[in-house]
């Protein structure tokens, strides 16, 4: 009996689109994961602080406002500053293909965009945690 996967779901900045993140939260709960939700309008600093205290396996950021190229570098810098080197960072929402490539190079493990079926979200995150191994 292993412990459920822990995920923190965050909305950063002025982005008020929260339908997607709520769908994902329920999907992951139904997939047997523990989901910490921090609500809308958080700063990268708040999100990373919470994720580190919660020691989640996965930090998931939902962005539909187009600011991904400024948010994710901040998140990685903050994780480093807080001495966390094994947190999996994933992204979801609406973003252009060119950004997806750049984000992957930056270290975002997976980017799941519009219309990703629930089971695929569960399987992708589970796969990432399994690939990481014990911590």
């Amino acid at each position: 009996m292993s412990a459920p996967i822990r995920v923190l779901l965050a909305k950063v900045g002025l982005d008020g689109h929260d339908r997607g993140v709520k769908v994902v939260a329920r999907t992951l709960r139904d997939g047997g994961m523990d989901v910490v939700y921090t609500g809308l309008h958080r700063t990268p600093e708040e999100v990373v602080t919470a994720a580190v205290q919660e020691d989640v396996d996965i930090l998931g950021v939902s962005l539909l406002s187009g600011v991904q190229m400024t948010v994710f570098p901040k998140i990685f810098a903050l994780l480093k500053e807080k001495k966390v080197d094994d947190m999996i960072v994933v992204a979801g929402g609406v973003m252009p293909d060119e950004d997806v490539e750049k984000l992957k190079k930056m270290g975002v493990a997976e980017i799941l965009l519009q219309d990703t079926p629930p089971q695929e979200i569960i399987d992708t995150l589970t796969g990432l945690v399994e690939a990481r191994g014990a911590r």
Partner: protein
């Protein structure tokens, strides 16, 4: 990315220096019940016992998380370091959970002297209360002065957690039905302090009167030595009643300096020993050779659960007494 696995014993040092990543990782291992962490958690237990542990319980929606947010702000004004363990129920269907207590505590997030951790009840037998109190020890080691545990107070395990605090606060709220909800949940009698929350609402008076009446009738009055549980009112919305709450918490803590405190601490230790014994025993019994066969026989109705359990325990005792 290179990932380094840090053994639990090596996390104790940085955790006691207050390094968040180390505290957080130890908590994860305690929560998951990882056997590798047992020795470390044992060592931590021996060093802990300094913090004031406050349990806050009440039905969902009674305003606990919001109240904790305001209470902690008040404690921070006094310069105290505060940790919060916020427990929400797991889904009985999937075993997963959505832990949303943090949403109501967002003002505290960037304060380096506040640590918030969310936990799910998991619904597993025995294990949860055990883990939550290990988590409290880790936070104690990390130097937090006050450790607040928020639970919904339904289910044996959660009632036990609330009871295992030094001070237990039971929150009742107006607008959730005309009965005092805590009575139904059977948690009224564990209160050291009663709080009627949301006193900005016009129907709060009614809740206050109902509660006082019930206590007067002797329902749910804790007969802890020399302590009469006060009934306080708060409004998180208007930030009212928190001076009184803090004063009451302090007063209760002081009351534990005497024999009542000795008794309380002894009860908590006894409970923890019992939980540890249960967990260990269950683990060992499950490893018994006849556990699988007996499980099948119960399922076939070839035997009954009590007889099967007796057979397993008997064989276990025979084997252990012969070594």
């Amino acid at each position: 990315m290179a990932r380094r696995y840090v053994p639990s014993l090596e996390l104790i040092g940085p955790a006691s220096d207050g390094e968040t990543w180390a505290v957080a990782r130890l908590i994860s291992r305690a929560e998951a019940g990882v056997p590798e962490a047992r020795e470390a958690i044992g060592q931590i237990y021996k060093r802990a016992g300094r913090a004031h542990v406050i349990g806050i319980t009440g039905v969902p929606g009674s305003g606990k998380s919001t109240l904790v947010g305001k209470l902690v702000q008040r404690l921070r004004d006094d310069g105290l370091r505060v940790a919060i363990v916020a427990i929400d129920p797991s889904s009985p269907y999937s075993g997963g959970s959505i832990l949303g207590d943090r949403i109501r505590m967002s003002d505290l997030v960037l304060d380096p002297d506040v640590f918030i951790r969310s936990m799910a009840t998991r619904g597993a037998v025995g294990g949860m209360a055990h883990a939550a109190l290990d988590v409290v020890d880790i936070l104690d080691l990390a130097g937090f002065d006050k450790i607040i545990i928020e639970t919904v107070g339904v289910g044996q395990d959660e009632v036990e957690i609330a009871k295992s605090s030094h001070t237990t606060v039971v929150v009742s709220a107006p607008g959730l039905g005309d009965e005092i909800q805590a009575i139904k949940a059977g948690i009224l009698e564990i209160a050291d302090i009663h709080v009627v929350s949301k006193c900005d609402r016009s129907d709060a008076n009614r809740t206050m009167t109902d509660l006082k009446m019930m206590l007067k009738d002797g329902i749910g009055s804790a007969l802890t030595r020399g302590w009469l549980p006060p009934v306080l009112e708060t409004s998180s919305l208007n930030e009212e009643g928190f001076e009184e709450l803090v004063a009451s918490l302090d007063k209760h803590l002081t009351s534990l300096d005497g024999p009542a405190g000795v008794e309380r601490r002894a009860q908590i230790s006894a409970f923890r020993l019992q939980k540890a014994a249960e967990t260990l025993l269950l683990e060992r019994l499950r490893q018994q050779a006849n556990y699988g066969t007996q499980t099948r026989r119960v399922s076939d109705r070839a035997t009954d659960p009590y007889a099967a359990a007796t057979a397993i325990v008997d064989q276990f005792s025979r084997e252990t007494t012969h070594v």
